[in-house]
C-alpha cells in the first residue's frame, strides 16, 4: 500500500445545537492511499457528509466542533491549522465536488470566469504566491512563547508581501493562454463545444453539464485529494451514469486520490477501490470493495447489501432493516447497531465493539467493528 494522501485518525465531530450535543462523527479513522478511490457509504444522517466537509475544514464551526482526532495531510494536522491558513490547502491540496450541481456554480458569472478563477488559484500557488500573503508574517511575539506547531504551514519561510505579489503578477497568464487552458479542462470533462459553453451562465446548463464544469474546476487545480460528496445524487439516472463513467475515466487519466461519499451502493461499487461503511457516526467496516461486497463482516453491511434493489430480484417487496437510525444525541449504549441487529446479544448492549479488527478469513485490509464478525457470513 502506498503512502496515504490523507489519514484521518480518531476524528470526532460534535454539533452543538441549543443544549443538545450531537456526535455526528465519532472516532473515525481511515486512510486514502495515493491514487486510490476510497468510498464512504451510509444512510442519511450517518455522518458521512460531515466527515467529508470536516477534512478541508469547511464545516461551520460552531455549530460543529472537532472534538479530538487528527487529520494528517502530508505532515500537517489540519485540525490544528488555523482556519485563516486553510485557503492555502484547499483547492490545490484538497478540492471538493458537492452534491448540488445546481447551486454550486455562482449564478452571476459565466463558466469561463469560474473555471479561470480556479485555474488562477493553482497558477498563483505554483508561482509561490502563498495566500493569504498579507498575513504571511506571524505577528510579533512579545511573550516569546513558542508558537503552536501545525507542521509545514506555519514553518514556511517568511516571504515579503511585495515579492509574492510580483510573483503573482508573473504567474497570471495572459487571457488567450488562460482561455486555452480553460478550454482544455472543459474538453477533459468531455464537454462538446466548449467554446460555446465558456460564454454561458450556469442556469443555461443542464445538471450534468454543471457537474462537469464543477469537476473541471476541481481538476484544474490538480488537487492531491479530491473529495466527492455525493456528486451524482442530484442527477437523474442516465446523467448519473454519464458522470460516473466520466469520473472513472478521469481517475485513470489524472491519477488523483479521491474520497467518494455516497449513499448509493451501486455508485460506490463502480468507482471505489476501498470502501468504508458508516453507521450512526461510526465507521463499522472498511475494506477492499470486492471483498467487502463479497463477504461482508458486519451485520449492518450485510443488511445494507440485502436491502439494495437488484435487477434479479423481482418478486415481493425489497428487504429493509428493521427499526430506525438512532438519535445521535442519545446513542444506544454498547454497539450502536444492536437494537436492529439480528446477531445482538447482551454483550453488544453492554460494551462497544472493539475498534476495526481484521476478522479471520478476509482479504488483507478488510476490518470490521463487530463482536461477532466471524458469525456474519452465517446470516441469511
Amino acid at each position: 500500500m502506498t503512502a496515504p494522501v490523507i489519514s484521518v485518525d480518531g476524528l470526532t465531530i460534535d454539533y452543538i445545537v441549543g443544549a443538545g450535543r450531537f456526535r455526528a462523527v465519532s472516532d473515525v479513522s481511515l486512510e486514502v492511499p495515493e491514487g486510490h478511490v476510497v468510498g464512504i457509504v451510509g444512510e442519511t444522517g450517518c455522518g458521512k457528509s460531515t466527515l467529508a466537509q470536516a477534512i478541508p475544514r469547511l464545516l461551520p464551526e460552531p455549530p460543529a466542533t472537532i472534538g479530538h482526532g487528527r487529520i494528517l495531510f502530508g505532515d500537517m494536522d489540519l485540525v490544528r491549522v488555523p482556519l485563516w491558513q486553510m485557503p492555502r490547502i484547499r483547492g490545490t491540496g484538497i478540492s471538493m465536488i458537492f452534491q448540488e450541481p445546481l447551486n454550486s456554480l455562482n449564478p452571476a458569472y459565466r463558466v469561463y470566469d469560474q473555471v479561470a478563477e480556479a485555474l488562477q488559484i493553482r497558477h498563483l500557488r505554483e508561482a509561490g504566491h502563498l495566500t493569504p500573503d498579507r498575513r504571511e508574517q506571524p505577528p510579533f511575539d512579545y511573550s516569546r512563547r513558542p508558537q503552536p506547531d501545525a507542521g509545514e504551514v506555519l514553518s514556511k519561510p517568511i516571504v515579503p508581501a511585495g515579492a509574492t505579489a510580483r510573483a503573482a503578477r508573473r504567474a497570471r497568464p495572459p487571457y488567450p493562454e488562460l482561455r486555452e487552458e480553460v478550454l482544455d479542462y472543459l474538453k477533459l470533462v468531455r464537454i462538446n463545444d466548449p467554446e460555446t459553453i465558456l460564454d454561458l451562465y450556469p442556469h443555461e446548463l443542464s445538471g450534468g453539464m454543471r457537474q462537469r464544469v464543477m469537476i473541471a474546476m476541481a481538476l484544474s487545480e490538480k488537487p492531491k485529494l479530491l473529495i466527492a460528496d455525493e456528486p451524482t445524487s442530484a442527477l437523474d439516472v442516465t446523467i448519473q451514469a454519464q458522470v460516473l463513467t466520466l469520473m472513472k475515466e478521469l481517475i485513470e487519466e489524472v491519477h488523483t486520490s479521491i474520497l467518494f461519499i455516497s449513499h448509493d451502493l451501486g455508485v460506490i461499487a463502480e468507482t471505489a477501490d476501498e470502501l468504508g461503511v458508516m453507521y450512526a457516526g461510526k465507521l463499522v467496516e472498511f475494506g477492499p470493495v470486492g471483498d467487502l461486497f463479497g463477504s461482508p463482516r458486519h451485520p449492518y453491511t450485510k443488511a445494507l447489501l440485502r436491502a439494495a434493489p437488484t435487477r434479479y430480484k423481482s418478486d415481493g417487496p425489497l428487504d429493509s432493516i428493521a427499526g430506525s437510525v438512532p438519535n445521535l444525541s442519545r446513542p444506544p449504549p454498547g454497539c450502536r447497531f444492536h437494537p436492529r441487529c439480528p446477531l445482538a446479544r447482551p454483550v453488544c448492549k453492554a460494551e462497544p465493539p472493539p475498534p476495526l479488527l481484521a476478522p479471520p478469513g478476509v482479504a488483507p485490509g478488510h476490518r470490521s467493528a463487530c463482536h461477532f464478525a466471524s458469525e456474519v457470513p452465517n446470516l441469511p
Binding site: 469547511l58 480556479a118 453539464m209 439516472v237 448509493d264
Partner: protein, 353 residues
Amino acid sequence: MNPPGSTAWVGTQSRRAWQSVRTFWQVLRANPLTLAGFILVVLIGVTALLITVAPHLLTPYGSNSPTHAYAQPPSWAHPFGTDSGGLDIYSEVLYALPLDLGIAFAIAGVAVIAGGALGLIAGFWDQPNTAGGWTSVVILRITDIFLSFPSLILALAIAVSLGRGVWQLIVAVLLTWWPFYVRLVRGETLAVKHLPYVVASRAAGVTEGRIVLRHVLRNVLEPVVVYFTLDIGTVLVTLSTIGFVGLGVNYPVTPEWGSMMSTYQNAGLITAYPWTILGPGAAIFITVLAFSLLGDGLRDILDPRSRRVLAGTGAGGPTSASPAAPQEPSQQTVVEPGGTPTVVPTAGGSGGP
C-alpha cells in the same frame, strides 16, 4: 471556433460587450414601463448636464434673475408662469435640477457605499464570540439606534441643529439614510453566504476577502441596485419635505424644488397663483417616477436568468426560453460525451432501507 494561439479572442471580447448592450436594449424593449423610466432618466440627466454647462440652450433667463412679467399664468413665454417677484418658474425649476439630483445621488450614493460596506461586514463575519462577531454586533446596534427614530423626524431635528444650507441638508438626510442599507445588505449577505456556491468557492481555495468581494457582493448587488434607484426618488421626496417645512436651502438664492414650494406656499400664493407650486411639484413627481420605473426593471437587467429570458437570446449556445428545465432532452444532446452515451443504470441503487 478559434484556433489555438490566434488572436480571435479579441473578437470574443468585443462580441461579449456588444451582446450585453444588445441584451440591455432587449430587456428594455420587453418592459415598456422600464423603457419609459429609462428614457425619462436619460432626458433628466441630459437636461441637468445642459443646464450646468449651457443653460441658455434651455431658457433665456438666468438663475434668480427677475423678468418683468409678474405673477403671469403659464404661457409660451413662461411655460410654468412667473411668481409675484417676476421669477420664471420654468427656469427656476430647471436650475434646481442639478442641485436636487446631485444631493439625491450624493445622499443615496454615500449611504449605499457606507451602509453597504457595513452590512457586508456585519453579514459575512457574524460568527458569535469572534472579533468579526463583535464588530457585527456593534454595527448592528448602532444601526438599530438610528433606525429606532422615525427617519424624517430625525433628519428634521439634525437639519434644525445644523442650520440651513446644502451641506447641512446632505448631512442631515445622510445620517438617517445609511442604516437602511446596512439592514438590506446584511440580510442579503446572510442569505447568500450559506449558498452552495460560496462553500464551493471556499473549497476551491478562494480566500475569504475574495469570496466577499467577488462572490457575495455580486449576488447581493441586484436588490441593492434596485433599492438604490428607487431610493433616489425617496431621497428627493424627503429633501423636498425638509425644504417644504422651511429647513432646506435658501430659495430664491439657491433654487431647490422643496424650498420653492415651501416659499410660495408660505407666501400664500397657492390659491392665487397655483402654477408656482405646480411647476416644482411636477418636477419632483416626474423625477421620482422616472427612477422608480427604471428601478423596477433594473432587476431584470442585472439578473442573468431573467435577463436571458426577457431578451430571448443566449450567447449563441443552447438558449433557455425555459431556464428552469435543466434536464430537458434538447439540452441533453449537448451533454453527451464524445464517446457512446452510457445509459446503463448503475447496478444496485439506494443503499438506505
